[in-house]
Symmetry: C2
Subunit: 210 residues, 2 copies
Amino acid sequence: MAEQIAGAKKASLSLVERKQLAARSRIIEAADALFAERGFDAVSVTDIAARAEVGRTTFFRHFGDKTEVVFAKEQAVFDAIGTTTSAAWDPPQSVASLAGALRALEPLVLRLCAQATTDLAAYRRHVLLVDAHEELRAREAVKHQYIAQEFTRVLLEHDAPLDVATIAGQLAVACYSSGRILATDPADLVTTTADAFRRALAMPPAEPTH
Amino acid sequence: MAEQIAGAKKASLSLVERKQLAARSRIIEAADALFAERGFDAVSVTDIAARAEVGRTTFFRHFGDKTEVVFAKEQAVFDAIGTTTSAAWDPPQSVASLAGALRALEPLVLRLCAQATTDLAAYRRHVLLVDAHEELRAREAVKHQYIAQEFTRVLLEHDAPLDVATIAGQLAVACYSSGRILATDPADLVTTTADAFRRALAMPPAEPTH
């Protein structure tokens, strides 16, 4: 889906825009390679720009800092999902109830998992990098909160009540985080995340004595 | 509970330790007052140390940076809960199932909410401060992930399966975050958070057609 959108977009882009997209891809690839070679801390924006054969100005046109590059792929996938859902998302069922809203978000989260792990080796490098740096873990935690807010927003657009939209957004991201922690191999990410949704949605009601 | 533990601790502390605790409290109060007066960005560690009448060395004995002071209260409450639960937590029910584990965590989260809002005016200042600074929101998001991990740890200590412990920890924090977002007034935090747990635990099973 992200690729389709990217493809459709590309066809209508000007030469300047296509050059900018190409530069952005080169920056991401250069950063990925340099972080793997030297470690995150030992790489500067200047190093990344030089390897990508762009100027520092171009770098900063695309990214606020080197941390931002680490999450470029997740962000792109997520932006594509955001665009789709805002424009023409047809929730698979009513989002008036919490269970309905959470079930409606599940396929979006699983798509995010599937696309994030398309390149398993790159995803493994990404996970190792984030785990090793508190700064990156912080950025990731913030990104997950943005994702929760975005889910809340699209649910509200489909007339979910505010409390349902808020709780469903947070629970969906909780399932996503659980799936990431429980996936000992990135190849399992979709399965472990789907399992977290299945379990969250299948909690039996409390015993009457409770 | 946190106060009881703090009280019990205080009785057995040496003079030096009591002086350190007093300095820590003065630092927190000084930072709170200065952030409210001048805004977070305009206050330095030197300013806080001066107002608290301690040296910078003492400041850094207690806190890594000024950001850390903002979360001192939440951290203290949470540490007290962590200590209690590790030592002698008696889960109100079996934590073998996800629903059981989440129900067992609920009172811990509600206690965190209740203690965080003991001083409503201070809590309101805290929320405004965090909302206004991306750096603080990032730190908060990381802290919530630590809380989730801590919940997972105590559940594992009580023989919950790894997947149950992981998902329950994430869902508990999702309910906490939801409660915070939905509490338009901090005085409602316990109620909105309890409501998030109630709803998460009462999702009806999917229709057979799904």
